[in-house]
């Protein structure tokens, strides 16, 4: 990741692309793997500006503002030393992203921070915007408050954990990787959520031609996590899901490396035959 910042910056700006052409989607989920997905990162995507404020007094806090956040979301330190937000479930993912960074920073280092989130892409456009926001938010706060030591790959893993573990949403892994590393990538996901990434080179000619010929049309807001839950509920037998959740949990706990150590066993009852038609139709989205 490109960083042009001193050790203790006053204010930072993080930008991240969104993605299109997520080929192989659904196989990067906990119930659809092992996965092979690729995508193309595109921009302009999202922007997060974070700055320290001079206001004194009161508890350390991070205030998030955006046209989509009304009122602003505030994360503060509680009397018992924990970080917590007070908004509805709707903004849980943003709050949890903030908490993820703050939990590793002394409270007196935090002070008062204001964050403004902007996006060139409407929310719910199926372009991985939420993941791009979380990656940018993590990167901005990590740089502002925690020394900015996390790599783009670490930010991708962290953003996925924030979304699926801390905020308990359904999501594959590729949106976070597209936002963090950009370009085009082949991601092999096995065991979930472990990712082995192979960059796909893009020549100058290809980038220029796609820049001239790509058109993206957004129809209406869409909740990806809700569609995931709908597919899971409609197509996956409960017994298989329970087994798969156990495998996923064990895999996440072991945090298998790229050498494949800790590879999770495959579920023999993976219902791909019965589910394949529905899932792959949803996954490919191609016609």
């Amino acid at each position: 990741m490109l960083r042009v910042v001193p050790s203790r910056p006053y204010a930072v700006r993080a930008t991240a692309p969104v993605r299109v052409a997520d080929v192989g989607g659904w196989t990067d989920t906990w119930f659809g793997g092992p996965g092979r997905v690729c995508h193309l990162a595109v921009g302009p995507g999202v922007e997060v500006r974070a700055r320290r404020t001079n206001r004194t007094g009161g508890a350390p806090s991070v205030v998030l503002e955006s046209t989509a956040l009304d009122p602003p979301v505030t994360v503060t330190q509680t009397a018992d030393g924990r970080w917590a937000g007070g908004s509805s479930v709707r903004h849980l993912m943003l709050e949890e992203a903030v908490c993820e960074v703050l939990e590793g920073v002394p409270a007196d280092e935090v002070g008062r921070v204001e964050v403004v989130i902007g996006s060139q892409v409407p929310p719910g456009a199926s372009l991985g915007t939420s993941a791009a926001v979380v990656v940018s938010l993590l990167a901005a706060l990590d740089t502002l408050l925690a020394g900015g030591r996390r790599t783009p790959e670490e930010l991708a893993v962290l953003a996925h954990r924030v979304e699926t573990v801390r905020a308990r949403r359904e999501a594959g892994v590729q949106d976070q990787w597209a936002a963090a590393v950009g370009g085009a990538s082949l991601l092999e996901v096995d065991p979930y959520p472990t990712v082995r990434r192979t960059p796909i080179p893009l020549s100058d000619a290809v980038v220029a031609e796609l820049g001239q010929r790509l058109v993206t049309v957004v129809f209406a807001p869409h909740d990806s996590s809700a569609v995931h839950r709908e597919v899971i509920g409609a197509h996956c037998p409960r017994r298989w899901l329970d087994t798969r959740r156990g495998v996923t949990r064990a895999s996440r706990d072991r945090r298998a490396g790229p050498d494949g150590v800790g590879r999770a066993p495959r579920c023999r009852h993976r219902p791909m035959g019965r589910v394949a038609a529905g899932m792959h139709q949803l996954a490919a989205g191609a016609s």
């Binding site: 990741m1 990162a41 719910g124 963090a180 790509l214 049309v217 569609v227 995931h228 949803l282």
Partner: protein, 80 residues
């Protein structure tokens, strides 16, 4: 999953000679579609394709997105 809006946009894109398209994300209702304008002399250019799609439904938003080789970037802002 190809929803009604996706299908309508694809039909128009096909008529205008688009080279290809992909439903983004999970599919279903809403969401988005990315298309590649055709390269032949008879196919519509990307701006023309964008105008045609925008005219199909006033509720749709057409975005100008280009490939991004870089991922997340952090830079310092000047103190104000």
């Amino acid at each position: 999953m190809v929803g009604p809006a996706h299908a309508a946009a694809i039909e128009e894109a096909r008529r205008l000679g688009a080279a290809g398209w992909k439903v983004n994300g999970a599919g279903g209702s809403g969401g988005s579609l990315t298309l590649v304008a055709g390269s032949s002399a008879t196919s519509a250019t990307a701006p023309a394709l964008a105008r045609a799609l925008g005219a199909l439904d006033a509720g749709w938003t057409v975005l100008e997105l280009a490939p991004s080789r870089v991922g997340v970037v952090v830079e310092e802002l000047p103190m104000r």
